[in-house]
């Protein structure tokens, strides 16, 4: 907690001074041509018009413009194939944009794939020097930092063993240690923070926080929305190669969740139609609302929720139970109950039945939640379940994070 608040103050004081720009992206587009022939023979045979038919054009980025100020941490969000990694590679100079320009200054290090430059036959030590040279460090600089790197990686005497004998964890730890010690002004990170064991992950996160305090710029691609919210001060949502949204991390994450939701609904409709024919029982609907709130509005802590579910069964059903589960957007169960838990026996089901559950005074954490509605045999065997029958969004918690919220306070008792 203390570290987070102090970081916030550093950032606000920084905002007052003129902050130089480190990366400007102007109208950048990137076209990929996907060819289906790859050898000389095929190329010659399909020369000319048929050749063009054999290749497809695909715009991975369309007119992207961004300005990134020094010292900021920018998250790139977007569904798979939305151009996040392409943009990151273009900033890193690995891919050349088809049109538009990317300008940048300062030393750049890319954590795109850890250990990309490692050669299996060389020892750890040799690879450290090779890899740091690839990342732009001179021999002297590397020698100076070698002990730090070794310490951070924590692989001890294995440093003089060929890296092909390393465990995958050691490999990645060493690679990360090298990359993080290159003293970059701009750091590009693509999905690599989830490496190593928990202790090492923590170490990486601490290092990233330290980088932020030192005014380094971090551009981060991650599918972990929590991580983006935790680390970034701004975020950009990309969809089909275009900038969909640009703003604070929180707003961007919300926007991105909406995109995912739209997609989920489309998929669910397609799936639901196919399923219906097979099972004799069906969850016709499942809805959730908060008392006194308009549909689509965010739920607030303390709200009372009403869950309404309608079931149908082709044959009469003497004994059955109804229930629901609520999961957060990562699929973690947050709350669930059913009629048996509550000690209620349903009347026999003839045709359709509608039940209503009430959840009083909810204290869920901020974010999106999903409702799965189901009914089952008395022994618990599901007759039918409607996954993600409804979705609701809890207002973000300004005082904490996690899946539940608790009234918290703090006082200093010593020092």
């Amino acid at each position: 907690m203390t570290i987070d608040t102090s970081r916030a103050t550093v950032r606000t004081t920084r905002g007052e001074a003129a902050v130089p720009t480190v990366v400007t992206i102007e109208n950048v587009s990137k076209k990929f041509v996907i060819r289906k022939d790859n050898s000389l023979k095929e190329r010659i045979v399909t020369l000319g018009r048929t050749g063009r038919r054999n290749s497809e054009e695909f715009w991975a980025l369309k007119n992207v413009s961004l300005t990134i100020p020094a010292g900021s941490t920018i998250g790139l969000l977007g569904p798979n194939g939305s151009g996040k990694s392409t943009l990151l590679k273009a900033i890193g100079g690995i891919l050349e944009p088809t049109t538009g320009t990317i300008k940048r200054r300062g030393r750049l290090a890319a954590l795109l794939e850890l250990g990309a430059g490692f050669h299996p036959d060389l020892t750890g030590r040799e690879n450290v020097f090779l890899n740091s040279a690839i990342l732009g460090m001179s021999r002297e600089e590397t020698e100076e930092k070698f002990d730090d790197i070794l310490n951070f990686a924590g692989i001890g005497d294995f440093i003089d063993t060929q890296v092909k004998f390393y465990s995958s964890g050691m490999y990645v730890r060493l690679a990360f240690a090298v990359a993080i010690h290159t003293d970059p002004d701009v750091l590009l990170v693509d999905e690599v923070l989830a490496v190593g064991d928990e202790a090492f992950q923590r170490k990486c996160m601490d290092k990233i926080h330290e980088f932020q305090e030192q005014g380094r710029t971090i551009i981060l691609v991650s599918h972990s929305l929590g991580q983006v919210q935790e680390l970034c001060d701004r975020a950009v949502v990309l969809a089909k190669g275009e900038v969909q949204f640009e703003g604070t991390a929180r707003e961007a994450v919300k926007n991105f969740r909406d995109i995912l939701e739209d997609r989920r609904v489309a998929e669910a409709t397609a799936l639901g139609e196919a399923d219906a024919a097979i099972t004799p029982g069906k969850v016709l609907s499942g809805t959730i609302r908060a008392e006194g709130r308009a549909p689509g509005e965010d739920f607030q802590p303390g709200d009372n929720l009403v869950i309404t579910m309608t079931f149908s069964h082709e044959t009469p059903l003497e004994r059955w139970i109804s229930g629901f589960k609520i999961e957060n957007n990562l699929g973690q169960p947050v709350f669930g109950t059913h009629s048996k838990h509550l000690g209620i026996t349903h009347a026999p089901l003839h045709g359709t039945a509608t039940v209503e559950y009430r959840l009083d005074d909810i204290q869920f954490g901020g974010g999106a939640f999903f409702l799965h509605a189901y009914f089952a045999e008395p022994n618990g065997l599901h007759i039918a379940i409607k996954r993600e029958a409804a979705r609701f969004v809890m207002a973000d918690d300004p005082t904490g994070e996690g899946t539940v919220r608790v009234a918290a306070s703090m006082r200093q008792i010593a020092g």
Binding site: S39, G92, I94, E96, K103, A116, L122, I134, E213
Partner: protein, 318 residues
Amino acid sequence: MTTTTPPTVNSVTQAAATQAAARFERLKDEPMQIAGQPIGAFTGFFGTIRDVIAHGSLLDLLIRRDLKSRYKDSALGFVWTLIRPITQLVIYFVILGQILGAAKGIPNFAVYVFCGLTIYNLFSEIVAGSTGSIVANAGLIKKVYVPREIYPLASIGSALFNFGIQLVVLLVATVVFGKFPAHAELLYFFPSTILILIYGTALGLLLSAANVYLRDMGYLVEVLLMLLMWGSPIVYAWSAVATRATGSKEWLLHIYTDNPITLAVLGFHRAFWLGGSESDYPSDMLIKMGVAGLIGLVLIYVFHRVFSKLQGNFAQEL
């Protein structure tokens, strides 16, 4: 956290903040640069040279990596670099020279053959090595930006190392089979080697880039290198060709003689092989070499332009 536990949070933040301010100050003065390869016909070429020089230590490490990994875990290690050319020498010397009788018109045939082989191996290693270099380093190219010219150049470096070893063998051979070539013509070594380096670099740049788009290049190059070897006077005498290509066929002789590989091989003969006389060599060799060298330099420039045009799409084609 254990290793980086700060004394107090405040002092660390303070230090970080001043560090951040210093960083911003420095960044403000740095000019904005276009990400990736420098472009533009002239600035691009020299910009790349500057870029490559800036990455000199990386080039050095890449060459070491190539050499180290090549014979890693083998018992004989670098001795293998010697065994291959020596075997080649024995085959050509015994089979071609003694059994097929190619040695008859050529005194000191062993040294003669090894001269040609040494310089030609340099050329073929450069070309074959750099052709595959970009594809072989695909992992790096897709993940990190360094000037891509470094990869073919690193192949040239490791080829040069092997060349050095063979050169030592050649010098020992001159002593064993005759006497050390201590004469002024030994200086022909330099133009010959430079000529091969120029053409190796030019072709290496072109072929390494082309190989990314057409993987057939690697195999094509193998075949062409084999052909080229017999197209230069390595195991037979230049004069044997010169006496047969006369009159209306003289233009053929010009093509044959004035190509850089033949010139380099002849230069090597002049430098290390003592059995030759004036009639064994074409006239005005130095001038011819100079002209070939200049053309080669132009080719480096042109092929580098091709390389930098193509390199923008390397990462996506690999």
